[in-house]
Symmetry: D2
Subunit: 155 residues, 4 copies
Amino acid sequence: MKRIAYIEEWENWVEEFHFHTEVKVRFSEVDPFNHLNNTVPFIYFEDARIQLFKALGFMQEWSKPGSETIPVVSDLQCDYIKQVFFDEALKIYVKIAAIGTTSIDLHYMAENEKKEQVFVGRGRIVHIDKTQGKPAKWTGSMVERMENMKKSVTA
Amino acid sequence: MKRIAYIEEWENWVEEFHFHTEVKVRFSEVDPFNHLNNTVPFIYFEDARIQLFKALGFMQEWSKPGSETIPVVSDLQCDYIKQVFFDEALKIYVKIAAIGTTSIDLHYMAENEKKEQVFVGRGRIVHIDKTQGKPAKWTGSMVERMENMKKSVTA
Amino acid sequence: MKRIAYIEEWENWVEEFHFHTEVKVRFSEVDPFNHLNNTVPFIYFEDARIQLFKALGFMQEWSKPGSETIPVVSDLQCDYIKQVFFDEALKIYVKIAAIGTTSIDLHYMAENEKKEQVFVGRGRIVHIDKTQGKPAKWTGSMVERMENMKKSVTA
Amino acid sequence: MKRIAYIEEWENWVEEFHFHTEVKVRFSEVDPFNHLNNTVPFIYFEDARIQLFKALGFMQEWSKPGSETIPVVSDLQCDYIKQVFFDEALKIYVKIAAIGTTSIDLHYMAENEKKEQVFVGRGRIVHIDKTQGKPAKWTGSMVERMENMKKSVTA
């Protein structure tokens, strides 16, 4: 297994994931070499992340007219482990790896039907004040909800 | 400027880029928050990478029937620096940052019309033997062509 | 309801669909006006069509090395009926509307969770001889399988 | 040449196009059969249409906060004429074929570098009142600008 900087210990890292979405690889997502195009995992990560934000009630707050903050992707990365093909069913897991004052670090893991990890990733999301274009502190309620979700997945 | 692990010294790093492609941000690439969707830079990186491989004569060899090797993306990452909007014209730069025995490390940089870096990235490409599914050594001619391109951009 | 040239009688037309796939609208598929981007239904149509071809055993034949024919899209159209939003679950129905000597006409219908038709479409697929680049006759077995599928959905 | 319902006389139809955008086929837009994926022309059409609306000053009005109307795609179709491959440079032409009270009919044509028409299409755009969700009359100024553009391309 290749060394991935953001994964300290593989088995623990895998076990800490509990929240996931499901996707099916589309024909339009497969490239001329017949493999999942390398840009598509980021689309799957986004989908899982948005569902996580919905489960936390964040999307609902950010979508309200008059909402003062939005989430902005600061960086993203993906490590490709096994080839993925057309029509495979994948589970896309996401977890909150770290909570900062104005940002969070999310980790991602994709599993195929044989329970093999096919690609993994991470990325930082910053909570931004729309008017000032600057990082905004998470509210106490937001931190609490994220802590509770982390607890439920690490307990 | 945020600290990015793969960039040692910003100005030198920027100056070492000489090969680029041009893209125009499409309406379908802008998300509901009116920003370039975070998955799109990876599409732009791929395009620049393929053009680099064409300039090196690699694509021509890999596309031949009977070609025994293909390039496989091992990992990819992107750091988002400034917002990008619909209809902006971007230059997508790519350079060979390191040449290994069976892989290369590519770095990417996107500049808007004001010559501002809007996002940057990197990723490793592995040269794979199609039959065995294992890393294959670059041929002498391939290394030479890559070294020459590196020289031309660092001299 | 607007007049759509390829639909003679709406209720019969709807009832003749029996084969479908399921999709969930992704965040990246929604445009800045917060609606499903108009290009996405064609991606859904393709997915349903490929699944239909798999159910018929056609994909398996076309994917074999040495296969002499492939399907080529001759034309496609979509009529947008109701707005579709992020995260909606849609059923994408497809049926064989007509079988020609070297082509077929497929019709498509997308339904939301309230069983409302949100968009519909059609398109012709031509069976092409790869070497000559010309239309190729469906084999007897292919016609039979398509006729059986039509019967099962119209009986 | 196949018969296409919305094209009365091919040569006149081709000559009436004067407004175009330019695209380059990306690697991610090519499918496993090595042809331009059939969903991509609709992305190119959208891009050309938006540029047309910008040239008419419509985008600027629709993007203003407080704008009461938006354009909505009512239907779209594409006829595929010649195969298109990775890295081809295409011109995507668009023209106003008909102006209705609350809608317009747009026609599209894609040409490769050999000046061959590779795909063509059409679609109706409806001018919608955002609050009521119903068709809204074009303003006098909008009609005038569209008539002038039609004149300039047919004179």
